[in-house]
Structure formats: structure tokens, C-alpha cells
Symmetry: C2
């Protein structure tokens, strides 16, 4: 597996922690900071620490685990710690964690003193195949996900496959949803390979291929004017389900679990609107239904879900937009969907 | 006066409000928002409103007047209003006000949904000759000025000289400090012209020349890696005096008043360190002392001032950095100044 070249920065796959150490060494940074959450502080930091300690002084910033930490209040907390620790413009932020840590850390760094360098060391499957690649940073306000953010590329990404060993099975499933998405929108052969693999534990080669797909798409369209919207497949409905679950459920859905539901619903829309065949719809539905637990969506929550979709960042002129498959491995962006269609697609999921 | 071309965006000087109207018309925005403060809401908004009303629906966001409104809490307030008003990615933010409005509005817009378009209509002399040009946005946390921000260019700047008519004399003086700075760092002839003008009411030609100077410098070095640091002349000490005054004074110094003090002190440092002649130091000191009221700096506040300078964004490796004149019209960036030198320069001001 070669190092992947992204938009002016490398994505390392081999000896990634050693690469991180030499990156920091070469960078001549005045200081560096490691952002972790409670879990990566326990499972991943020791491994990094043992190698970074030789590089001298650095400070640790730890946030609570979970999406709640992506709130603006935590972001202010990170900014204040950077101030207190005396971070200057030549400081480096190392984001060691899942998508919450990389999104929040990326945003905090990209705005601190109008931007300091940052790198990602993604430790969940989701952040390895998705969140750490493509330069989107983001935080939430009032549970509206990623409502505030920047497009800022990290200086490098270091993917250490071994970090996935301590990841709970549910988190593997969460990242897997994005990998399946990559196959569905861009590479039918990869989708077929995934289907016939043991997806409880995706191989490093499968992870690598997902990063390649995401990287190619985001390089072509970094600011999401066109083709990058392909990556939103499953996300219009999925984001609404996720947000609703975060507000209402004791044990909320993970991002990937929600997106898996979104992909089922949006495949139904594709069957209705963009030519996905009945067989393909059935195949997709089965793959996701076999992998992911059933989730109960009450019809009484449709109003809420629709209201959330109307606030979606991706909308223009108040119209709700979906990326829909034309067949497995290909998709079409910017399909306007009516309220009736969206409700019907949720009914399809409910009635499975 | 021709329209000035900046880094991919125009700075209008003639019929600017008409230009604004036709810019909004052409832009095919889904919505637009006007950010004002209490004063520009009264003095400037009606003029803009009467011409914009034909363009249909828009929403107003008003903040309190003054630097306190640049705090992160107000920024969150602006973000939440954009959410409530349903601002989407094709929305436009029009910042109608002084540097507080343009800095805050620019930051809020540059991060809302990872960035929406914004334009500046600067209404103070300071914002016309300085804050609205060059693409820096910023907000404050815990009274640390501009600690958070982005480098994002507006889509256009509309300078309407007539807005200055309602501006209090103290605010004219505040902007004037930056104009004098432009002469001192880059154009001795302009400095001489300013010296011999009625500076209670600078002409539109003088305003125009200042914008030209700032624009050329920031185009050359948008991210302040080198030559843009010239614009920091007076600001290392000036910012510290300003921050200290904001915390402690009932009627705090304006930005320009503080920077005027900073330029006197840093001219003294230039006389000591970078070859500014005694005659030039005396000339600069006199021009500023004649224009700006005396301000009492107690020796007991030096520790505070120095502590603030140590937190300055511009520092690297904990060393305090000044831009110093080599002669009138020329300067040198990145001069490290010791605590003793900085204290001595403050003593120079105190003893005037
Ligand atoms: N920027 C982007 O392009 C992008 C793309 C997709 C998702 N995201 C964002 O990513 C976030 C979700 O990311 P996530 O699923 O990684 O969530 P996460 O960061 O919350 O991590 C999930 C859980 O796994 C734990 N964890 C992390 N690494 C571990 C390890 N090696 N061993 C054991 N436990 C570990 C975490 O502490 C957390 O409890 C969302 O906020 C989403 O918006 C961003
Ligand atoms: N982004 C940059 O490059 C840059 C450069 C310099 C300064 N700044 C920032 O600019 C801010 C200072 O700007 P400022 O001096 O314009 O302050 P300001 O925006 O607070 O305006 C000063 C006062 O004038 C009032 N006012 C504005 N226009 C008026 C008008 N036409 N008639 C009557 N009253 C009017 C305002 O309500 C306010 O009370 C600081 O926060 C500073 O950090 C930014
Ligand atoms: Zn996703
Ligand atoms: Zn200034």
C-alpha cells in the first residue's frame, strides 16, 4: 500500500506512527498539542506517546467521548486551553481520535489565530475511511450537526490500522456504512468484494480502497460544488434520522447506523426516480438489513424528520436534495425530492 | 477614482451603494442578510434599505455597538439567527458597519455551513482604510482580540465616503492612525501630504490612497508570512495598550488611539534599533501628540502590558516581535524586542 497523495498532503498507511514522529521532527514546530477523547486517551495515546516523548514538550487536551463534545461550548474549551498553553502560530495540533476529535480539532486549529497546522491520526474505522480525508472540519450548535465549519486540509493524515483492534463492534459497523457507500456510488467491484468479505473485521486493503475512493472524489471537488455531493448518498435522510435519534434516544444511533437507514430509504427513492432496478434495491436492502440492527421509526416522527431535512446544509432555495444511485457503482447528484417522496421512502424502511 | 482590484474582488469607491444593489441583483442569492450595529442601523441602514428594498426579502441582524460585540457569544448569536432565518449556502451576508461588524460578520459568514458569501460596506474611517481590506476576519475570547478568525476574502467591498459624515470626530481620529501608519511604512510622500492636510476631515482622495497601500501589501502576502507584517507597525505595543484599556478603563481607548501610542513607542524602538533618525522620531512623535489626546499609562501597568504582549498572536517561540521603521516610508519586519527595550519605549511615551 503506497502513501496516498491528497490535495497537497500525504495519507500514510505504513508505519504511520513512525511517520508521525518524523513529520513532527521535521516540522520545526514551536509546540505541539494532542487532542484525544476519554477512549483514545486510554487506547491510542500510550502508543503514540511512547514514540513522541523523545520530541520534548507537548500538552494534552482531552474531551469527553461522543458527539456532544462537538458542540461549540467544547470548541471554546479547546480554544481556551490553546490560549492557556500559549499556543502560537507555529504550533501543531495532532487530532488523535474518531471523527468527533478530527472534526472538532480541525475546526479549532483552522480558526485559532486564523489557522495553525494540524494533522489527523484517525482511530475509528469511520474516521479512517471518511472523516479524516477531504478537508471538512465542523462543529455543532444546538445539535445541528456541522452547522459551523471550514474547508481546511490537514498537513498529513496517519492511518494506523492497528488502532481498530480496540474499537467496539458497533463502531466498526458505523464506519462500514461509509465503505459500502463508497462501493455503491463509485465502484461496483468494490461493493461486490465487500459483500463477500467478513465485514465484522474489514481488512486493511478494504480500508485502503475506501480512502482511495473518497480521496479521488474530494480532490476533484474540494468545496462540494458538484461531484463531491456523491458522498452525500444516504445522508439527507440519514442525517435527519441521526439528529432525531441524538435528541430523543437514550442510546442514540451511530452516524453509520443512521446512514445505513438513509441508504436504504434513498435507494428506494432511486428505484422510484433514477432507474435503480428492483433487483438492485432488493440487494442493497438485504445487505444493510443483514448487517445492521432494526431501528424503529414511528410514523409520528416523520414531521420531525422532515423538519430536520428542511434545515439541511445541502439544501438550496428550501428544496430538499438527494444523491441517488442510477445503478450500483454510479450515482446522480442534485435530485430534488418532495415531502411525499421522502415520506414514502421512510415507509419503505418501516415496512421491511 | 477607479475601482480597486483586490485579490479576486473589487473595491468600489464611486456610487458604491448602487454598485451594491447591482451586485446583489446579479448574484442570484437565495436570501440576503444585513448585519448592522445600533449606530449603523440608524445612520447607514436607511440609505441602503431604500435602495435594496426593491430586491425583495431580506433579514436584519443587529448587534450592540462596540468591541464587546466581537466576543464569541455574540458570534454564536449571529450564527443562531442565520439558522433561525433559514440561511442556506447560497445566502449572502452584507456587513454594514465599522470594523467590529466587518470582522464579526466576516468570521460568522466564513464559517457558517463552511462558508457563505459576504461583502463589506465599511462605515467608519478605520474600516474603510483598514478592516474591510485584506481578508482577515476575527472575533475575541476573554477580551483577547482576534484570537479566533479566518483568512477569507469578501466577494466585494463598497466604500461610501458619505457615511463618514455622521461619524464622531473621535472615530475619525481612530481611522486616521492607520492612514498615518500607511504613510510611515510605505509612502513618505503620502505621509507628508497627510501632515499638511486638515486631518479632522480627510478627503476621499486620502482615503483612497490608504486603501491602495493596504491593498497592495495584502495582495502580495495574504497570509502574513512576510511583508504584510509591515502593517503591524505600532500594533505590538498598541494592541497591548488597547487590551489593557478595554479591561480597565471606563471609557476605553479606540483602536486607533491605542495604535497611535504604539507607533510613538515603536518609533522610539526604531530610533534605538533600526536606524530611524532622531529628527524623524521627533517629527513622528509631534504629529501624533498634536492629533491625539494624552493618555496616562501608569508604570505599575507595565507588567500587565508586557504579559499581554507575550500572548500576542504575532509571536513565535515566545519572542516578542515588532515591525520597525528604518526611515519614514520604509520598514523592517520581525525585530525581536526584549522586555527591557519594550519597557524603555513605554517610558519614552510616559515622559513626553
Ligand atoms: N469531516 C468529515 O468529512 C466527516 C465525515 C464523516 C463523519 N464525520 C463526523 O465524524 C463523527 C463521527 O465519527 P466517529 O464515528 O469516529 O465518532 P467518535 O469520534 O465519537 O468515535 C466513536 C467512539 O469510539 C471511541 N474510539 C475512538 N477510537 C477508538 C479506539 N481506537 N478504540 C476504542 N474506542 C475508540 C470514541 O471515544 C467514541 O466513543 C461525526 O461527528 C460526523 O459528523 C465527519
Ligand atoms: N480585519 C482587519 O484587517 C482589521 C484591521 C483593523 C481593525 N480591525 C478591527 O476593527 C475593529 C475596530 O473598528 P472600528 O473602529 O470601525 O470600530 P466599530 O465598528 O466599533 O465602530 C466604531 C463606532 O462607530 C459607530 N459607527 C460606525 N459607523 C458609523 C457611522 N457611519 N456614523 C456614526 N457612527 C458610526 C459604531 O457603532 C461604533 O460605535 C476592531 O475590532 C479591530 O480589531 C480589523
Ligand atoms: Zn457520513
Ligand atoms: Zn490596526
Amino acid at each position: 500500500m503506497d502513501t496516498i497523495q491528497s490535495d497537497n498532503y500525504p495519507i500514510y498507511f505504513n508505519n504511520s506512527i513512525d511517520e508521525l514522529v518524523s513529520f513532527v521532527k521535521k516540522g520545526a514546530y514551536s509546540k505541539f498539542f494532542i487532542l484525544t477523547d476519554e477512549n483514545t486517551g486510554v487506547h491510542c495515546l500510550p502508543i503514540v506517546k511512547s514514540k513522541l516523548d523523545e520530541l520534548g514538550d507537548y500538552d494534552l487536551i482531552e474531551i469527553n467521548a461522543g458527539e456532544e463534545s462537538k458542540d461549540i461550548d467544547f470548541c471554546i474549551g479547546v480554544w481556551k486551553m490553546l490560549i492557556d498553553f500559549g499556543a502560537d502560530r507555529k504550533s501543531l495540533m495532532i487530532n488523535l481520535g474518531g471523527g468527533v476529535v478530527t472534526d472538532l480539532g480541525g475546526f479549532a486549529a483552522s480558526t485559532y489565530k486564523r489557522g495553525i497546522d494540524f494533522v489527523h491520526v484517525p482511530t475509528t474505522l469511520l474516521s479512517q475511511v471518511d472523516a479524516s480525508v477531504g478537508g471538512k472540519t465542523g462543529i455543532d450548535i444546538d445539535s445541528i450537526k456541522n452547522i459551523i465549519g471550514t474547508f481546511t486540509q490537514p498537513k498529513a493524515v496517519f492511518i494506523e490500522y492497528n488502532f481498530l483492534k480496540t474499537l467496539p463492534p458497533r463502531q466498526i459497523l458505523s464506519g462500514l456504512a461509509e465503505m459500502l457507500k463508497h462501493g455503491l456510488i463509485a465502484d461496483a467491484a468494490y461493493w461486490n468484494e465487500l459483500k463477500s468479505s467478513d465485514l465484522k473485521k474489514p481488512t486493511v486493503q478494504l480500508v485502503y480502497r475506501s480512502v482511495e475512493i473518497k480521496n479521488v472524489i474530494t480532490i476533484e471537488d474540494p468545496k462540494e460544488k458538484g461531484i463531491r455531493k456523491a458522498l452525500n448518498f444516504g445522508h439527507t435522510i440519514g442525517h435527519a434520522v441521526e439528529t432525531n435519534s441524538l435528541i430523543n434516544d437514550k442510546d442514540p444511533l451511530s452516524h453509520g447506523e443512521a446512514i445505513a437507514i438513509g441508504m436504504i430509504c434513498e435507494s428506494y427513492l432511486a428505484y422510484k426516480k433514477t432507474g435503480l432496478s428492483a433487483e438492485e434495491l432488493s440487494e442493497i436492502t438485504h445487505v444493510f438489513s443483514d448487517l445492521y440492527p432494526r431501528y424503529t421509526i414511528a410514523e409520528s416522527s416523520f414531521d420531525n424528520l422532515f423538519a430536520i431535512m428542511q434545515k439541511d446544509k445541502k439544501n438550496q432555495d428550501n428544496k430538499i436534495n438527494c444523491t441517488l444511485l442510477t445503478k450500483i457503482g454510479q450515482c446522480n447528484i442534485d435530485n430534488i425530492c418532495t415531502e411525499a417522496e421522502l415520506r414514502e421512502s421512510l415507509m419503505y424502511y418501516i415496512n421491511l
